[in-house]
């Protein structure tokens, strides 16, 4: 295979991103204005965090539809805990709750002995409903606002809108999380164990790879990252409602897969997920800038996602075709 072909196949999403950016920049030069770049950076916000967590679940050969429920629950609980526990306390509590939600998923999957993605799909679908209902019951259906609080939560405000130099705080959080997760996945034994679990659970187990630990880890990470996403999300909009997480699970899964992490498990990386999320965000941004109507946008987004998944799949099929 020649080099160009290789790049085409392996970095297709990247090429699509560049192509998209180029076309938009030509038609709407404001696309490359600092303001818009800043915008794109901000819109990375919650979705990327959730998608990074989801990457591990998918690499580990499972799937997690419960992140939407987790986000709902964490958002309303965290914001209401700011008054009693203080900001740091609430933040920690939120992250702990998210991790617990993930651990519960893992527990259900482990105790039932479920090993397939499909089993996980619907178990976590059910759990999403449960977490969402808890969020609704806890909040009574109300939205909570920062100005409801005794004093403005400046730490959360900073998470939502602050900057560190040219970078938004949420982007810095993302970079930090990305670095840690990337190191964890590619450089650490536990990360390798997760990949092996996704590659072939039986073989991994018989080789003494602790797949139970991998399962607990992937779901706990997903829960933790969903919680982090929830915190960035409600900080960004300064309110938390019990339905704030709707749609995040599908968008996160799509972003992961569009990035090129295979749903079959074993193969993938957090860097690819960054590309996937970038594509999704750019797409929204470009279509908005190009003035495409919202309805057309959804159709166009669906079409491009289908196209990206298809293209990405082509390379695998070709790789295997004999």
């Amino acid at each position: 295979m020649n080099k160009v072909g290789f790049i085409l196949k392996d970095y297709l999403v990247l090429l699509m991103i560049l192509g998209l950016a180029l076309v938009t920049a030509i038609i709407q030069p404001k696309f490359i204005s600092p303001a818009n770049l800043n915008n794109i950076m901000r819109q990375f916000g919650p979705l990327i965090l959730v998608a990074l967590g989801m990457t591990f679940v998918i690499v580990g050969g499972f799937i997690d539809l419960s992140v939407a429920g987790t986000i709902n629950l964490v958002a309303v609980v965290t914001i209401t805990l700011i008054d009693p526990l203080g900001q740091v306390g609430a933040l920690i509590a939120g992250l702990v709750i998210g991790s617990i939600c993930g651990a519960i998923n893992a527990g259900l999957i482990l105790t039932s002995g479920a090993t397939t993605q499909a089993e996980a799909l619907f178990i976590t679908f059910g759990m999403s409903t449960v977490y969402s209902s808890l969020a609704l019951i806890y909040s009574g259906g109300s939205t909570f606002h920062f100005w409801d609080l005794k004093e403005m939560p400046n730490m959360f405000e900073a998470i939502g809108a602050g900057s560190v130099g040219p970078l938004s705080v949420s982007f810095v959080i993302f970079l930090g999380a990305l670095a840690l997760l990337w190191i964890f996945h590619t450089k650490m034994a536990a990360g390798r164990a997760i990949s092996l679990t996704g590659g072939n659970k039986t073989a991994a187990r018989l080789s003494g790879v602790p797949i139970e630990r991998s399962i607990v880890l992937i779901y706990t990470i997903a829960g933790f990252m969903a919680a982090l996403g929830a915190i960035v999300l409600f900080s960004r909009v300064t309110t938390a409602s019990p339905v704030i997480g709707a749609g995040f699970e599908t968008n996160a899964i799509l972003a992961v897969v569009v990035g090129g992490t295979t749903l079959k498990g074993g193969k993938g990386s957090v860097l690819r997920t960054v590309m996937g999320v970038l594509l999704v965000i750019l797409l929204n941004n470009c279509l908005n800038l190009l003035g495409v109507s919202s309805y057309m946008q959804w159709a166009a987004r669906g079409a491009i996602l289908v196209f990206a998944i298809w293209l990405d799949n082509r390379k695998e099929v070709q790789g295997n075709q004999l």
């Binding site: 295979m1 450089k187 650490m188 034994a189 536990a190 390798r192 164990a193 990949s195 092996l196 590659g199 072939n200 039986t202 073989a203 991994a204 187990r205 018989l206 080789s207 003494g208 790879v209 602790p210 139970e212 079959k264 074993g266 193969k267 790789g319 004999l322």
Partner: protein, 498 residues
């Protein structure tokens, strides 16, 4: 025997086939004659299975011509080739586990069989004709490996085939079933049906093949009537060098007790207890499904079994999962390579290193250079044929894949190495190397538990054998001094313990 006279049914001319990084077939030409059993032998990775898959339409050839039954076949599909009269029993079992035996035999021919009733009736006839008693309504997932193999054979027979390809059909057959198979082969021959028979078991080749083709590295080295080959010549041609012995000298430094297993009880096993000594190779002999695999899986913590006691070096150990087993110094080569051994999308290197991740981990971090060393070392010492250690293991031949799994455990250096069918589908040369490895482990003060369906292998390698029949240990023998038929009687549950 007249080998030249009969008409050519299949003519393969200059067929080549490349996979990324490997040239699997390199201008192969073979003629197969009507009513002949055509043996094909060759080392692992010689290209045998690849050639057969091209014939059946699973793979597409790159160049060359194939003429079957007077018609040139260019691009065929499994469906077409079957209906042309070319049936194949693949090396890896090819049955749908979630379906019944009958439905499996007539897979895709529901209409021809006139519904479910017809399917089961015809299947019964077929199975009876080869002496297989299994119920046609049983799910394939509930069958033992050898019964599956018999079902697979009936499936191939169910076509009105002119040529049947059998890619290592005998790897998991018991002796009795094997003789049935031989009988069937003779019947087919008598009906003018040709058979291509691939096997690593040379006895079989000399037993009933009429013509033998030797392949090595994607080339046909020689095709001759069986009678013109001597055993040594065949082996030399296969491996490209001469091999003195098929089995190494038995090791003789059996020491004190290393492991003691007491009272494994499951639905299938009944009070299985035995001891294993240092420096010993312990063979487990039994029919397929007797409970050998279940015994070792229980010890290894692979199944949920409770209540038995294991002591290693005098100390009791608890093993509830394979990780604990590994930590206690056990290693296992599982019987099903593809499903239980390999992580197919991963590289050779990562497959080799996966049991010993701790070895190249410091403070939770992987040291990639060490990992690379581990991979390279075993590829070299086991002679694994691979372009480099980074290629995906799914691209290796069966035998080479198996060597990777051996390498995986060699890195750990387990003191107790359980090998469940370690040489299944492995060529003579590689087998010998695996035998040497077993011996080496034993001589270093470890011990090996060997399960194999090849009786000569167990008998020649083991210091001691246990026979298992229907979940019970029925005897303990010294294979050096007890004749094989006595041991077989015990394995068949006919009494005669020592």
């Amino acid at each position: 025997m007249d080998t030249a006279g009969s008409q050519i049914i299949l003519s393969i001319r200059d067929v080549t086939k490349s996979f990324p990084g490997v040239r699997a077939l390199n201008g192969v030409s073979i003629d197969v004659r009507r009513g002949m059993v055509h043996g094909v032998v060759g080392e692992n990775g010689a290209g045998k299975s690849t050639l057969m898959k091209i014939l059946s339409g699973v793979y597409k050839k790159d160049t060359g011509t194939i003429v079957f039954d007077g018609k040139t076949i260019d691009h065929t599909t499994p469906y077409e080739s079957m209906h042309r009269g070319l049936a194949i029993i693949y090396q890896e079992l090819n049955l749908v586990n979630s379906m019944s035996v009958g439905e499996n035999i007539f897979l895709g021919r529901f209409k021809e069989m006139k519904g479910m009733r017809g399917t089961h009736a015809k299947a019964r006839e077929l199975l009876d004709s080869i002496g297989c008693k299994v119920s046609t309504t049983k799910l394939v997932s509930e069958l033992s490996v050898s019964t599956k193999q018999m079902v697979e054979i009936s499936k191939a027979l169910s076509f009105q085939s002119k040529l049947i390809i059998m890619d290592e059909p005998s790897t998991s057959l018991t002796g009795e079933e094997m003789s049935l198979l031989v009988k069937i082969i003779h019947q087919l021959k008598a009906q003018g049906i040709s058979i291509i028979y691939i096997s690593h078991k040379l006895e079989e080749i000399f037993d009933f093949c009429d013509v033998v083709t030797v392949m090595r590295d994607g080339n046909v080295i020689d095709t001759k009537p069986r009678g013109e080959f001597t055993r040594d010549e065949l082996i030399t041609k296969m491996v490209g060098r001469t091999i003195e012995n098929e089995y190494p000298e038995r090791s003789r430094q059996v020491g004190e007790t290393l492991m003691e297993v007491k009272g494994i009880n499951t639905r299938k096993l009944h009070d299985v207890s035995f001891t294993l000594r240092k420096g010993e190779i312990l063979g487990l002999v039994g029919l397929v499904g007797a409970g050998r695999t279940e015994t070792v899986r229980a010890i290894f913590g692979a199944d949920r079994v409770r209540g038995h006691k294991v002591t290693i070096g005098g100390k009791p150990v608890t093993i509830h999962n394979p990780k604990q087993a590994k930590d206690a110094g056990l290693g296992l080569i599982p019987e099903d390579r593809k499903l239980q051994g390999l992580v197919l999308p991963f590289s050779v290197e990562q497959n080799i290193s996966m049991a010993s991740i701790d070895r190249f981990t410091r403070f939770g971090f992987l040291i990639k250079s060490l990992e690379k060393g581990i991979g390279a070392r075993h590829v070299k010492s086991l002679g694994i044929k691979t372009p480099n250690t980074k290629v995906a293991i799914k691209n290796l031949s069966g035998g080479n894949q198996q060597k990777c799994i051996v390498g995986r455990w060699m890195e750990i250096g387990p003191s107790i190495f359980i090998m469940d069918e370690p040489t299944k589908g492995i060529d003579v040369g590689a087998k010998y190397e695996i035998y040497l490895l077993m011996k080496e482990i034993a001589e270093k003060g470890g011990a090996v538990i060997l399960i194999s369906s090849e009786l000569p292998e167990v008998l020649n390698m083991s210091n001691r054998v246990l026979t298992i029949y229907d979940g019970r240990i029925t005897g303990e023998f010294d294979p050096e001094h007890i004749p094989a038929d006595v041991i077989m009687r015990a394995a068949l549950g006919l009494g005669g313990a020592s």
